[in-house]
């Protein structure tokens, strides 16, 4: 509980210190990623604006910026924080383990992730700049250096960065899997695991499977680029006036491999947030999670079905139309367990009295965005409708709500909630509330109107709307509103940063177990034993919870805390 982050050790294997480093890494990535998104938003509305240290944007610059924004956000923010930083911070605590199963592998994974970020950012300084083929890097654009600026050295750096990231993600998730399976403390049976741990179990399994495939795909693409193979290149390619060597490959192979990774990736970044939402809703309504087993079942079902829906990203890419129908069905099927979880959460809100603390508000925000973005999923799952909406701003709206905003809000919920573990202090409530409400309104203001642009048919990846599509001119007021909202959204995050810095010194002392939580990361004992369910909230008004480390029915909480854990259980 009082393990504050002390003296700096470069190669520490302490999981909490590693967690802090992952948080810093995520912060660097999110700051750069957000600034890039503002560059795009400003350029779309005022194309003539000259940016400091750079000047005006060329069309290829816009594409480089989208690519780097997407890559930073997906990998280095919404994979690193929920899937690496948070488990390092609390997973051993929640299962009562002293250490991770493989502390050194875990530490190595952090440094490989850092190297991966450095390599990615180096692409900005490559001779022709960063790659322009988007975060999905479809070949042949990504396979042939002559296909565009940034597709030479920049693209190579991107691929090496992704390969390193895959290695780190596989290593770190293997460590998590083994830790969950093998290092649980006495009494921590499967039925007593907090739902966050169940989420990490499923998301780690997905990470190992999905990132292995992405690693293979990246290796094949590097081979196509440098070893003369043609996994992704067909014959008869003419690029930039040059006839390319002939091959027997197909870009379709990349599309399948990439999205076999890409869809589970969405769940990797959102499942931990779903587990956290369940925990926070239980804590801040002081009621247990109803249907614990159903929630576990839904989480596992989402993970399993999530491996079989990737085709919904490539309905119109020349896949057999029957395959499109099949992938549409699996996608609508996965919406059922997701809806079940949402219904459970809404039900939980109406059981006890809700305590509107900052972490709770962010959990509500998560829920709000998860619903808002999730509801357009079944629309996009229908090949007949997606064949109009695919790659328009409707999709940009969908994934920024369901993945980006839901993901970021759950990250904020986690930070506000677990902050006392690191500093012994709470974050300032008033600043937290301001941060929440401004972010909520600005996020809706940014991403909701994008649906309208998408319905109008406005494609993604367009720096400018000129030529025949100047017919989108009536969208200019909408576009302008989106940009103002995005600026407000980014500005609101300054309140958060101030709060983090200020509260570390001046925040009110949290004491032990400030949220009166039940799960073991808040246990005052170094070697706890799990003695009860994860969410034993409720009961009498003066004693409305019984922590997992406490013997059930052992009188008032604070007496129980002083008792040494009995060796027998």
């Amino acid at each position: 509980m009082n393990t504050k982050v002390g003296r700096f050790q470069l190669f520490t294997t302490d999981h909490r210190r590693i967690a802090v480093r992952y948080l810093v890494l995520g912060l660097v990535a999110v700051v750069i990623g957000t600034l890039l998104s503002l560059v795009m938003r400003i350029h779309r509305v005022w194309p003539a604006v000259a940016f400091p240290f750079y000047g005006t944007l060329r069309p290829e610059d816009y594409l480089a910026v989208v690519t780097m924004h997407g890559t930073l956000m997906v990998f280095f923010v919404l994979t690193v924080v929920p899937q690496s930083a948070f488990p390092n911070l609390v997973l051993p605590g929640q299962i009562g383990a002293e250490q991770m199963a493989f502390p050194r592998l875990n530490a190595a994974a952090f440094w490989v992730t850092t190297a991966s970020l450095v390599v990615l950012l180096a692409a900005f300084f490559a001779p022709q700049g960063a790659p322009i083929s988007g975060w999905t890097s479809y070949p042949p654009l990504s396979a042939i250096a002559a296909a565009g600026p940034g597709q030479g050295t920049g693209m190579d750096l991107w691929l090496w960065s992704i390969a390193l990231f895959c290695l780190a993600a596989i290593a770190s998730s293997t460590n998590l899997l083994v830790t969950i399976v093998a290092c649980r403390c006495r009494g921590m049976s499967w039925g007593r695991l907090p739902l966050t741990v169940w989420s990490w179990l499923v998301s780690s399994a997905l990470t190992v499977l999905a990132f292995s495939v992405l690693l293979a795909a990246a290796a094949l693409l590097l081979a196509d680029r440098h070893l003369g193979t043609s996994y992704f290149l067909p014959s008869g390619e003419v690029v930039n006036g040059l006839v390319m060597r002939s091959g027997k490959g197909s870009p379709m192979l990349w599309l399948h491999l990439f999205w076999f990774f890409g869809h589970p990736e969405v769940y990797i970044s959102i499942l931990p947030g779903m587990g956290l939402a369940s925990s926070l809703l239980a804590n801040f309504t002081r009621r247990p999670v109803p249907g614990y087993r159903l929630m576990v079942g839904a989480t596992i079902l989402i993970g399993v079905l999530g491996l079989g829906v990737w085709g919904h990203h490539i309905f119109v890419s020349g896949m057999n139309p029957y395959a499109g129908t099949a992938f549409g069905l699996t996608t609508l099927a996965i919406a059922v367990p997701s809806s079940a979880e949402v219904l459970t959460w809404i039900g939980m809100l109406f059981r006890g009295r809700l305590q509107p603390t900052t972490p709770m508000l962010f959990a509500l925000g998560f829920l709000s965005f998860f619903i808002a973005g999730g509801l357009t999923g079944p629309i996009l799952a229908q090949p007949a409708l997606d064949s109009y909406l695919h790659n328009t701003f409707f999709v940009v709206a969908h994934f920024h709500l369901v993945m980006a905003m839901a993901g970021v809000f759950s990250v904020f919920a986690g930070i506000y909630y677990w902050y006392p573990l690191l500093t012994g202090r709470r974050m300032n409530e008033r600043l937290g509330q301001v941060h929440f409400w401004v972010s909520l309104v600005a996020a809706y203001g940014t991403f909701f109107p994008m649906h309208l642009a998408g319905l109008a048919g406005e494609p993604r990846h367009y720096a400018q709307l000129s030529g025949p599509v100047a017919s989108f001119a009536n969208l200019i007021p909408v576009e302008r509103g989106i940009t103002f909202s995005a600026l407000l959204l980014a500005t609101a995050q300054i309140v958060f940063l101030i709060n983090v810095a200020w509260s570390a010194r001046r925040g009110s002392p949290a004491g032990e177990n400030p949220w009166r939580a039940t799960t073991l990361e808040w246990s005052p004992f170094p070697h706890p034993i799990a003695r009860g369910q994860a969410y034993s909230y409720g009961g009498s008004a003066e004693r409305d919870f019984s922590p997992q480390w406490q013997e059930t029915g052992a009188g008032p909480v604070f007496e129980g805390l002083k008792k040494a854990p009995s060796p027998s259980d």
Binding site: R58, P149, P251, L343, Y388
Partner: protein, 256 residues
Amino acid sequence: MNWLPPNGELHGITMDAMLRWNLAAVFWMFILAQILLVVALLRRKPATDKRTKASSRRAFLFAWLLPLLAISGLYARMAISSRRLWAARREAPASSRPVEVEVTGVQFQWYFRYPGADGIFGTTRAALVNAPAGNPLGLDPRDPHSRDDIVSSLLVLPVEQTVEIRLHSRDVIHGFFIPGMRLKQDAIPGMTAQVRFTPVVTGEYPILCSQVCGLGHARMQAHLRVVSQREYRDWLAVREHARLAAESPGPGESQP
């Protein structure tokens, strides 16, 4: 919902109607859910727990199971209706002989090729591609079927006749997107995609590229002009004439 561009395609009418009820359904579900969140936040209720077995069973049934079944029913309904439309658009065989046009995407242009009087597309070769010399698609002059092929950068189609597009790309992946025809299909190098549609309203429709393809992606646009059958025949006849009257039998590009 008036955000959609005007529709000019036969199945587009069904698609618009479907999209409309889909959006309405999820919009009201969204509003309902957000109202519940706000109510939960504002609600003040003493924190006592007086639940009985029966009341929690009732809550499970009415607040969880029945809504979940209703939502699943909605998803099933979506799956069925969209399945019908998808089958009609992408799987059904052509009812009559369609107009055939070959569409080729290259960085950063769309080219439209009509087979000419013989109704057969001639051979093309990558090595012969030479846009400045008027042969952007690499038509092989030795193939008699190529001689009458018409290459255009404007897509002209007759109204009320089914068109079959054979979609290619010569370099990178492009996305062939005609919002007004509610049609989108990727052009993948090494593959030919066949898609059909039936314009039912004359007029001009923008054609865009919907798959990022390089620095000129956003300006990779063209026009579809849907005209009466008569105008279409005239348009073709003029171009065929020019093509055959050309001095050398080498292929040339006719600009609209």
